[in-house]
């Protein structure tokens, strides 16, 4: 089981998540392109993974029995890069190289470029299957690591996801947990307008998965959900995490037009001001 967390730890993790959001805005501003909404929306969950859940060692990213975190919706990699840098996988200054020539931080993640990135992704719908392959390898090797896959809601329109869901249900892969970023947006609009995904819970249940729903911005309940997933023996678990796209930056929140756009200079300033003052609740030292 993963350690329960107390109020002091929750506070520390919330601060980390906020810092990750700042780093995302700074990276995307310098890069001049990239995906804001999904990255910001998943900052709390990435914080929970990198600062509490994952059994990993940033100094030894290929550690044999490390937990595997697979990012299927590769376009939100800025949040992964920021979390990894903050956790000590590489220097924070390297974040400024995102999407630039000669960088290890490819616009969509590349496994053999950056240690700690488990799979290459970008084309949607492929991450769950790869997570299944890694989970099968763990079973064959009788290894005890956990496999976590993060996927978006929009990519559930890809058939490959449901091929994978069927397979994982058949194989009762209890060492596999899927986390869905249920932020209700995709490029062309809201998911329920473009191609409805609901009822998600019933769909996964009927594919023989254990289903949990959480508030994706409540780190404590997310960690509890991960613990519940670990205790389920006879099925794979999916955690449907309800998130707000663009979370933490008022003018980006819940607006699908921020799916694939970076902030400009003015917007970045405004966003950082909001993040650094926690929405004008505190005074920032560096405005």
């Amino acid at each position: 089981m993963i350690e329960q967390i107390d109020s002091t730890k929750i506070k520390i993790l919330n601060e980390k998540a906020n810092k990750i959001r700042e780093l995302i805005i700074e990276m995307l501003l310098t890069a001049g392109s990239g995906h804001s909404a999904g990255s910001l929306g998943m900052a709390d969950i990435f914080t929970a993974f990198y600062f509490h859940i994952l059994n990993q060692d940033p100094k030894n990213p290929n550690m044999k029995d490390r937990d595997r975190l697979i990012l299927s919706n590769g376009h939100i990699c800025p949040v992964r890069y920021a979390a990894m840098a903050l956790r000590g996988y590489f220097d924070i200054s390297e974040l400024q190289t995102l999407r630039k020539i000669n960088s290890r931080l490819q616009g969509h993640p590349h496994r053999t470029s950056l240690p700690g990135v488990e799979t290459s992704s970008g084309p949607l719908g492929e991450g769950l299957s790869q997570g299944i392959g890694i989970a099968l390898a763990a079973k064959i090797d009788k290894a005890r690591y956990q496999v976590y896959v993060i996927a978006s809601d929009g990519e559930h329109q890809e058939g490959n996801i449901w091929e994978a869901a069927m397979f994982a249900g058949k194989m009762k892969l209890n060492n596999l947990t899927l986390v869905i970023d249920r932020n209700n947006i995709q490029i062309d609009g809201f998911t329920e307008d473009i191609m409805p995904l609901e009822p998600m819970i019933d769909k996964y249940k009927s594919f023989n998965w254990h289903v949990i729903e959480v508030d994706g911005h409540n780190i404590e309940s997310f960690i509890n959900a991960i613990n519940e997933a670990k205790s389920i023996f006879e099925k794979p678990t999916v955690i449907i995490a309800h998130t707000i796209p663009g979370k933490g930056v008022d003018f980006m929140e819940k607006d699908y037009l921020w799916h694939g756009s970076p902030p400009n200079k003015e917007q970045a300033k405004e966003a950082l001001q909001e993040l650094r003052t926690l929405g004008n609740k505190i005074i920032s030292e560096h405005q």
Binding site: R111, E118, T119, E126, S129, I132, I134
Partner: protein, 330 residues
């Protein structure tokens, strides 16, 4: 005459023994399963016809039937391949690497995962099932991948060796197999040196280089024999490795012949002939004839009839060779 150094099957012209290349694949997997606990095999509801049913029975814990889901099979294999396993995925080539091409591109090739793609029922040899099931573009869509290994074994024994040998490397491979029984040209003594082209038919004074891939090599050898009877000397190359391509051996041959004819059960656009042509145009521009499907799909029919109709027969090779000699001398 047949190259004695290669210990080829002596009786190939009189009474060749027949076996499908897919059987060589299945046998190699059984052997590998025995020797190497990290070998895993996947299929998409085609266990028997891709000859992995033997592996399934012997090693059920390392065998995964994904159902009719080739994208899923590809990406699951990619996950296994980055976790210490050597994964062989087995389906018809039209579906894998056809249907799941981008999934393979990202999760296997770009990811550099230890996955070997076995494409079965390739070429018009798939016959009566018709063009939906005849993979005739698979070489083109795999050889364009950076650093990919693309292998087309000429017979079941070479198929065994190619499959077995691929397990020694962590690179992704595409290995192409055919359904029907075809003549066994090589023997277990024939050296297998991956990436090297072997000259199966040698002459004192060859006028044309005949380069064949896969079971087409047999037709090339028959053509060479018939041409020799008419006093025309040729050299026949077994291009079982299309990528990497053995530039030295091809250049050595065409430096004597100044003309090359390429033969494949595949579209001529983007196939083995194209690979050779690309290489020659960079190094030593050479007259070339291409045998294969010419800007068309084939149709249902008996393999023999199709090979005749679409110009892949030994007779067709002989005619094209004579044309090429005319072009060269004219």
């Amino acid at each position: 005459m047949l190259n004695k150094d290669l210990y080829l099957n002596e009786n190939i012209f009189e009474n060749p023994t027949l076996e499908a290349t897919r059987d060589g694949y299945g046998k190699a997997l059984l052997q590998l399963g025995e020797e190497n606990p990290n070998i895993v095999v996947l299929t998409a509801d085609l266990a028997e016809s891709t000859r992995v049913d033997g592996f399934e029975k012997k090693f059920p814990d390392r065998f995964f039937d994904c159902g009719v889901a080739e994208q899923n099979m590809a990406a699951i294999a990619a996950g296994l391949g980055v976790s210490g396993k050597t994964a062989y995925i087995s389906s018809y080539a039209v579906f894998s690497p056809g249907k799941n091409w981008e999934t393979l591109r990202t999760t296997v090739v770009y990811n550099h995962s230890n996955v070997k793609i076995a494409g079965h029922h390739s070429g018009i040899m798939t016959g009566p099932d018709g063009p939906t099931h005849q993979a005739t573009e698979d070489i083109a869509i795999t050889r364009c991948w950076p650093k990919m290994k693309v292998i087309v074994p000429a017979d079941s024994i070479e198929a065994y060796k190619a499959t077995y040998n691929s397990s020694k490397s962590e690179d992704p491979y595409y290995i192409r197999f055919t359904r029907d029984k075809t003549p066994i040209i090589t023997t277990s003594e024939t050296p297998y040196d991956e990436g090297k082209i072997q000259t199966f038919w040698i002459s004192n004074n060859p006028q044309v280089t005949i380069a064949a891939t896969g079971y087409m090599l047999y037709y090339a050898l028959i053509a060479a024999l018939n041409l020799q009877k008419d006093g025309i000397e040729t050299e026949v190359l077994n291009v079982s490795s299309i990528k990497p391509l053995d530039q030295d051996t091809i250049l050595k041959s065409v430096s004597r012949t100044n003309a090359i004819i390429t033969i494949e059960d595949h579209q001529v656009d983007g196939g083995m002939g194209s690979a050779i042509s690309e290489m020659l145009s960079r190094t030593r521009p050479t007259l070339q004839e291409f045998i294969g499907l010419q800007n068309t799909f084939a149709e249902s029919g008996d393999t023999k009839d199709l090979i005749e109709k679409y110009g892949l027969s030994a007779k067709s090779i002989q005619e094209k060779t004579l044309n090429l000699i005319k072009r060269k001398n004219g």
